[in-house]
């Protein structure tokens, strides 16, 4: 029976991301509209607004399709793909798609003083000081926001987004 299932995989192109992935890509685009970056973090002149993907790209060409012809505050949008944090230059939103938990922690620590909105679907992303987590619960996509982490990076999240999200607070008392 396993053989039957495996034989179905010849021809299911990896290029067509699932509905879940497409929704997450659209959310990434939506975040550019509902979050305000600090003045000094915005790109200069006509420089593009960068959405970065760190780790394997889960969106296929879908994310690029979504952002083509879109602008944020007059800046065109573009997607950059990184394998390591060191490769990153100008970036405004980063989708962290790293499976290794240790590497995730290191990534978030390395981005500490940069005004980058970090997003992921990883289970304990917010505990590690990530800012936004997209996850699926009861068959629907839900948003969890670590407000403190986003404020520390200078982000201002619109109330329109906040009221739809679950606000995460870290329990300082251990």
């Amino acid at each position: 029976m396993l053989a039957l299932l495996c034989s179905n995989f010849t021809g299911t192109g990896q290029s067509s991301p699932s509905l879940e992935r497409r929704l997450k890509a659209v959310f990434l685009f939506n975040f550019t509209q509902f979050v305000q970056w600090p003045q000094n973090a915005l790109p200069a002149d006509q420089s593009p607004f960068v959405i970065g993907i760190l780790g394997p790209n889960p969106f296929g060409v879908y994310l690029e399709e979504i952002i083509s012809d879109e602008k944020v505050n007059g800046h065109p949008l573009t997607v950059h793909y990184y394998n390591q944090v060191e490769e990153m230059q100008a970036c405004h939103i980063l989708f962290v798609n790293i499976a290794d938990i240790k590497k995730q922690e290191e990534t978030i620590a390395a981005l500490k003083n940069r005004n980058i909105l970090t997003v992921s679907d990883s289970y304990d992303f917010l505990q590690k000081n990530g800012m936004i987590r997209l996850y699926t619960s009861e068959n629907k996509i839900k948003i969890q926001i670590n407000l403190e982490a986003s404020k520390n990076a200078g982000m201002e999240i619109s109330s329109k987004l906040l009221r739809l999200a679950e606000i995460f607070t870290s329990d300082k008392k251990d």
């Binding site: 396993l2 179905n8 497409r22 659209v26 685009f29 996509i141």
Partner: protein
């Protein structure tokens, strides 16, 4: 007990069937995948985006991954796409259950063997309420009905659930969970009829009473038609049932969830196909409070009252009133200990009206059950190795104290990969039939007699399993088990010269072993396939000193092989095609031949409100038997078709 050559022809027939199921789909690979385009999604508001339904293999796997047991989940969508009309039909979708339809209103359902109409090794819960009768420790499936539209999911755990769930969860637990009322708002109405379905009609309305207070009210009624006698005439066992109820969910604070639900039902099953029907009615109320004390601690308090009444219309009646209160607390200590502890009290008042020759003595009995549970899930190596040890201690009215310990290892070498092993002990405590049932030839001469010496059946289970998610869209699970049983019920002849009364003894022991393989695959975005294969071998024997009249075979009649594949496709034009193919190998005593079953559902969403569907069930044979009970007369299940219209406002 050799496999006849015929079994293999059946397997080939099945493979052909599957290729047809899969092969017919190849024509659709050129069609657009039916998913919303980028431009469509961009126009939606955040709220609309968050309302879109997403099926995710990984969502289930996350929950299943944590469980060091052979758990399978049947989702609401699996049920809807299968065309299942009733709860037992929905349970067919669990590859790790043996589900056999006996007649119009009776089913034989078990896990890992010991299937019987009076199967007693499975614990079944509906929203936390246990649904078994202490009369024989089994389930009357004809009074376990719900509005399938409002079922959130059904969790089927094959294997002993003794520690977490209590006695009688020897071979498995079926946990049926309905949706929270905040997910069932609006008006739902359905009507269906068919060749085997006189009618099915349901209405449900859900709404919001206040900010965090939602409710629903429902009513449902159906009548299933006759099955067939072996001489090809119709058996008069058609079965009408009506049920209604409500549920309220309230979240007074971010840390509290309260839920209250109640159901009431009235049915007239007629398994004997006689002139006078049985009346089965009942009502129940369940209240539950979940409280999150902190990130590391939460508890649940639940109480329920369940009343059932069954009038066999020959003078024998049975009434059961159950009152149960249960408290469970979960607390994390440091990083390495996740402790669950709890207590439960249950009182069952069981009253029968006896017949002169058929009696439970005493006619009126109160049974008390007290239990306490303690379990610690310990992290031995962070994110890699966990060890869970637990113990449930129960005190019941028949055998005083019973202990059900278990130990489980979970090893996670990689994020998408889990190996687990478990060692457990579980018991099946005596039911009234074992100790207090009497069948007389004359008022002074018992033919069958219960005995105070009847003790609990015990089982030690050794399990090993593996769960892996090799790609984002495929999840596979393999569970193997070796169960050692002792003190299984036997029928012991009485003293010479007439060898009556026959008493129930604990004279059978033995082993069962097997393998359960299951998988879920999102083949494409519009096509998902799930299913599994189960292999079961039994070796039961009569203990020395026992004269079991059935030589160890009465308790069970189970197939060696069982196979299920369910395919669901979302097609262009807002249509859906659901296919369920199952194979069950032959039963031995009484003999039932192996069979293939196929159900097909074609659904069409006309618009946002109306959905039409046509369902064909048991399509491969004109009629076939699935299980032959000791009584009443054997029946066969007909091929059938029904049409349904659903409105959702």
């Amino acid at each position: 007990m050799n496999q006849t050559p015929c079994d293999f022809t059946f397997l080939y027939k099945g493979l052909l069937c599957c290729t047809l199921t899969l092969g017919s789909n190849l024509g659709f690979s050129q069609v657009t995948d039916g998913l919303p385009a980028a431009s469509e999604l961009k126009q939606m508001s955040l709220e609309e985006l968050m309302n879109i339904e997403v099926i995710s293999v990984s969502k289930h796997s996350e929950k299943l991954r944590e469980a060091a047991s052979a758990i399978q989940v049947i989702t609401h969508e699996d049920i809807r796409n299968s065309g299942a009309k009733t709860l037992p039909e929905a349970l067919r979708l669990a590859p790790n259950l043996q589900v056999a339809q006996v007649n119009s209103s009776q089913w034989a359902i078990s896990a890992r063997g010991f299937n019987n109409v009076l199967a007693n090794k499975l614990l079944v819960l509906i929203d936390g309420r246990t649904v078994y009768t202490p009369m024989y420790a089994g389930v009357f499936w004809d009074v376990q009905n719900l509005l399938l539209e409002d079922v959130e999911r059904i969790e089927v755990i094959s294997g002993p659930g003794g520690t977490l769930w209590g006695a009688n969860a020897v071979n498995g637990v079926i946990n049926i969970i309905t949706k929270n009322t905040k997910d069932t708002k609006g008006l739902f109405a359905e009507a269906a009829t068919g060749t085997d379905l006189s009618y099915l009609g349901s209405v449900r309305y859900g709404g919001q009473l206040a900010k965090n207070l939602s409710y629903r009210v429902y009513g449902t009624g159906f009548k299933l038609d006759n099955t067939r006698l072996t001489n090809d005439t119709s058996a008069n066992d058609n079965w009408p049932m009506t049920q209604g109820g409500f549920r309220i969910d309230w979240e007074p604070s971010a840390k509290d969830k309260l839920s209250l639900q109640s159901n009431i039902y009235y049915g007239k099953p007629n398994p004997d196909a006689g002139d006078v029907r049985i009346i089965a009615k009942g009502d129940n109320v369940v209240a539950r409070w979940n409280h999150v004390s902190s990130e590391k601690s939460d508890f649940q308090l639940q109480a329920y009252y369940d009343h059932t009444w069954r009038d066999f219309r020959n003078g024998f009646t049975e009434q059961l009133k159950t009152f149960d209160i249960d408290w469970q607390n979960r607390r994390q200590f440091g990083n390495a200990h996740d402790v669950t502890y709890g207590m439960n009290f249950r009182m069952m008042n069981h009253t029968v009206t006896n017949l002169p020759l058929f009696a439970f003595l005493p006619g009126d009995k109160d049974l008390y059950l007290y239990s306490a549970l303690l379990q610690d899930k310990m992290t031995v190596i962070k994110d890699r190795l966990q060890l869970t040890v637990g113990l449930k201690v129960e005190h019941n009215s028949y055998t005083d104290f019973e202990y059900q310990p278990n130990a489980r290892f979970t090893y996670t070498p990689a994020k998408n990969h889990t190996v687990w092993a478990a060692l457990s002990r579980a018991v099946r405590t005596p039911a009234r039939i074992d100790r207090e049932f009497f069948l007389f030839l004359t008022p002074q001469l018992p033919f069958i007699s219960g005995t105070e010496d009847f003790v609990s059946a015990e089982m030690t289970a050794y399990e090993l399993g593996w769960r892996v998610q090799p790609t984002e869209n495929l999840s596979v699970s393999l569970a193997s088990f070796y169960n050692v049983y002792d003190n299984i019920r036997s029928s012991e002849p009485g003293p010479a010269p007439f060898y009556i009364p026959i008493t129930f003894g604990n004279g059978v022991k033995g082993e069962t072993y097997g393998v359960e393989l299951s998988a879920t695959s999102l083949v494409t975005d519009w096509w998902n396939v799930r299913g599994g294969y189960t292999f079961l071998k039994k070796d039961l024997s009569v203990k020395p000193g026992s004269g079991d009249t059935n030589k160890g075979s009465a308790e069970s009649n189970d197939p060696t092989h069982q196979f299920l594949i369910q395919s669901t496709m979302r097609l262009p034009g807002n249509t859906e095609l659901g296919t369920v193919v199952r194979y069950v190998s032959g039963l031995s005593e009484p003999a039932v031949p192996a069979y293939f079953g196929m159900d097909l559902r074609l659904g069409w969403r006309l618009n946002k409100v109306v959905e039409l569907s046509i369902v064909g069930q048991n399509l491969l044979d004109d009629h076939h038997p699935e299980f032959i009970p000791s009584s009443p007369s054997p029946r066969e299940i007909d091929r059938s078709i029904y049409g349904k219209i659903v409105c959702r406002f």
